[in-house]
């Protein structure tokens, strides 16, 4: 008879020795433990921030946030109440939304339309143009600041929210087009041809077939773009919009009052909540096998 180890016909699992099984189980356990520790370390600052944001400012001098765990009496919602009454902060929160939402929506819409064109439409110079756009990925934004500030100045956009949005859209697009073009190119050609035979024009194909099938990529792109714009401080500092975004407002808190933790901590937590909600909201679009059942 052969020397191959007997295998379980139903599960296909090979009957290994006790030592091998034990080490496999132990290995799995160790891995899980490491992952849990990493996750906790990662979450610790956020948790600290949350606790700090809930502490009475009078207690800050008495030690770090961990003291609040043993003395829950230190916790209060007072900081948040004060924050919501602070119009500088709440106003900047809405300014951030005013910047982030259009900058994300525009990048997703323009990026997917361009991605579809680069993936599926025939036009002269298509591949060279795409190469050019991919090349733009390597241009650091710092290089563009001076010329763009001049450009916005001559266009009368200085200090407007629009200037910040335009900059974010321009620098978000190369990656968006690159990502979506490659994803759309993976849609089976037969599917688009079937739609064409069914009577669809390019516009219909884009909205009815390509966009729904591209949702996983579009959702990822949307989350990335949203996070980049939401968390941006640099672009806001350069273009100095009169309606300043939250990052700007929070940063100026540190400058003016040294460590005004009672404003910073809840403010930072506020700025963290929205992207988290966006991420969780978009998560449902990350479905595996969108193409299942389509071809073959």
């Amino acid at each position: 008879m052969s020397a191959a180890p007997p295998s379980d016909i139903v599960t296909g699992a090979i009957n290994r020795g006790f030592a091998a099984r034990a080490s496999a189980r132990l290995g799995g356990g160790v891995l899980r433990l490491v992952l849990i520790v990493v996750a906790l370390l990662w979450l610790l600052p956020t948790f600290g921030l949350l606790v700090e944001s809930l502490r009475d400012p009078a207690q800050f001098a008495n030690g770090g946030w961990w003291n609040a765990i043993s003395h829950p009496a230190q916790l209060t919602t007072g900081n948040y109440t004060a924050l919501l009454k602070n119009h500088a902060i709440t106003g900047s929160f809405f300014n951030t939304i005013k910047i982030t939402v259009p900058a994300t929506v525009a990048v997703v819409l323009i990026g997917s339309a361009a991605g579809y064109a680069f993936a599926w439409l025939e036009f002269p110079g298509r591949d060279w143009l795409f190469l050019l756009i991919v090349a733009m990925l390597v241009i650091p934004i710092q290089i563009a600041f001076v010329p763009v500030v001049k450009l916005f100045g001559s266009a009368g956009l200085t200090g407007s929210i629009l200037s910040v949005i335009l900059f974010h859209v321009a620098f978000g697009l190369p990656f968006a087009i690159f990502l979506l073009r490659n994803f759309f190119a993976g849609i089976p050609r037969d599917l688009l041809e079937a739609a064409r035979m069914d009577g669809a024009r390019e516009g219909r194909i884009f909205f009815r077939i390509v966009l729904p099938l591209g949702l996983p990529a579009i959702a990822s792109l949307g989350i990335f773009q949203f996070l980049w714009v939401w968390n941006d401080l640099l672009v806001a500092l350069i273009f100095q919009p009169k309606s300043e975004p939250l990052t700007f407002a929070l940063a100026s808190q540190t400058r003016q009052f040294g460590s005004s933790i009672d404003v910073l901590a809840p403010g930072a937590f506020l700025s963290l909540i929205v992207p988290l909600a966006v991420f969780l909201g978009f998560q449902r679009f990350f479905v595996q096998g969108v193409m299942a059942g389509s071809v073959k």
Binding site: D190, A194, M197, D198, G289, V290, A292, G293, S294, V295
Partner: protein, 400 residues
């Protein structure tokens, strides 16, 4: 419903590759025409040109009386069934079938009626609200059919619609497609590499090789009178046996053909049907015989001048008959484009090419035959049904 006409249609790709050459065909209203040929023979390209998915480099395509060369697919009023089915994965079966109607802005009630009627015909009623991923292969194939029939188009174009199904389902769906086409009487072009599909479905079958139409004829005619070696070898399974011989005529004007050391007498009736054979006296010629026109002499008794001796190398009992592979001593160094193409297409054909002075012959014996591997077998050939081909051109000698 419409007639379709292809006249001198050709396709040359941008890189200079030629896929279809001078294809002319008239398809009558309600006809089921099958394109068949080995992979890369241009049959799918021809179909895609009719669909409008491929530009037409040369010639004209007409649907009805309308020239459609520059008409986009959506305005040609033809429906296509893809090899991959190409179902919209994010839409339910109902929406997949109704997509084309929706694009044509058909009223919701009528659309829903048409979709349900199509689903009824195809047995999909209970699956209408499922997504394609939750369907079996056969059901997906039906949805693809449903998408085509619901539009009531001028013509159906089908690109190997059964090739992704398993053997049993393929037979079942083949019958279903045949029935549907009969009931709807819609002009249909069907592309396949499977000759069984071609023979069973087609009113006429068009055999293509390297972009060139070889022969278009009803299935039986294609089988009985192939115009050249390629068609002869491609249609029929097991394929026609091809032997290289020399034609002889004796003093009394009787014809025979020398096959190595063996000789077959040709009946007068055959010569009356193929008078051109006279041109080939004392010249090499390819002799073709279908496996079913060969039987075991032990069952019928010897008939002088109609027998061939070979050694049984493989016996395949199929129940209904016995497929016997024999080696006949017959040297032959053939060099023919058609045979090369056939050899490339099917492994089966390769074994049929002569090697080491032996030619493989496949015979379909009656199951009562007691032939065993290694036996020296005397075969009785139905010499009335011999085919002859000119070695240089591969063309059939004398039409039947």
């Amino acid at each position: 419903m419409a007639t379709m006409a292809l006249s001198h249609v050709g396709k040359v790709y941008e890189d200079g590759t030629r896929a279809v050459t001078d294809l002319s065909l008239d398809i009558v209203d309600g006809e089921f025409l099958v394109f068949v040929g080995p992979s890369g023979c241009g049959k799918t390209t021809a179909l895609r040109m009719v669909a409008g998915l491929e530009t037409i480099s040369e010639g004209e395509v007409r649907i009805g009386s309308r020239l459609v060369n520059d008409v986009p697919p959506r305005d040609r009023d033809v429906a296509m069934v893809f090899q991959s089915y190409a179902l919209y994965p994010h839409l339910s079966v109902r929406d997949n079938i109704g997509f084309g109607l929706q694009l044509r802005k058909m009223a919701k009630v009528e659309r829903s009626n048409r979709v349900e009627a199509a689903a009824q015909v195809l047995g999909l009623t209970e699956y209408l609200d499922r997504k394609p991923r939750n369907l079996s292969g056969g059901q997906r194939q039906r949805v693809a059919m449903g998408r085509a029939i619901v539009r009531q188009p001028q013509a159906f174009l089908m690109d190997e619609p059964l090739s992704n199904l398993d053997a049993k389902l393929r037979v079942q769906m083949r019958a279903e497609i045949g029935r549907l086409q009969r009931d709807l009487a819609v002009t249909t072009i069907y592309v396949t590499h499977d000759q069984t599909e071609a023979m069973t479905l087609g009113h006429r079958v068009a055999v293509m090789k390297k972009g060139v139409l070889q022969q278009v004829a009803p299935p039986q005619e294609l089988y009985d009178s192939p115009v050249n070696l390629f068609v002869a070898g491609f249609i029929g399974s097991p394929a026609m046996n091809l032997l290289s011989g020399t034609l002889r005529r004796d003093e009394s004007n009787d014809y025979s053909v020398d096959l190595g050391a063996q000789t077959l007498d040709l009946p007068a009736a055959l010569l009356r049907r193929r008078p051109e054979l006279a041109r080939f006296v004392d010249q090499p010629i390819f002799v073709g015989i279908r496996p079913e026109d060969i039987d075991d002499v032990a069952l019928d008794g010897p008939i002088p001048g109609r027998t061939l001796v070979g050694c049984a190398e493989l016996v395949e009992p199929l129940g209904s008959d016995l497929v016997v592979h024999l080696g006949v001593d017959l040297p032959g160094a053939w060099n023919n484009d058609d045979l090369d193409e056939l050899a490339r297409d099917t492994e089966a054909t390769i074994s049929r090419l002569p090697s080491q002075g032996r030619t493989a012959v496949v015979a379909r014996f009656s199951p009562r035959s007691a032939v065993a591997v290694g036996d020296l077998v005397t075969m009785a050939l139905d010499t009335e049904r011999l085919h002859f081909f000119e070695p240089s051109t591969g063309l059939s000698v004398g039409a039947l």
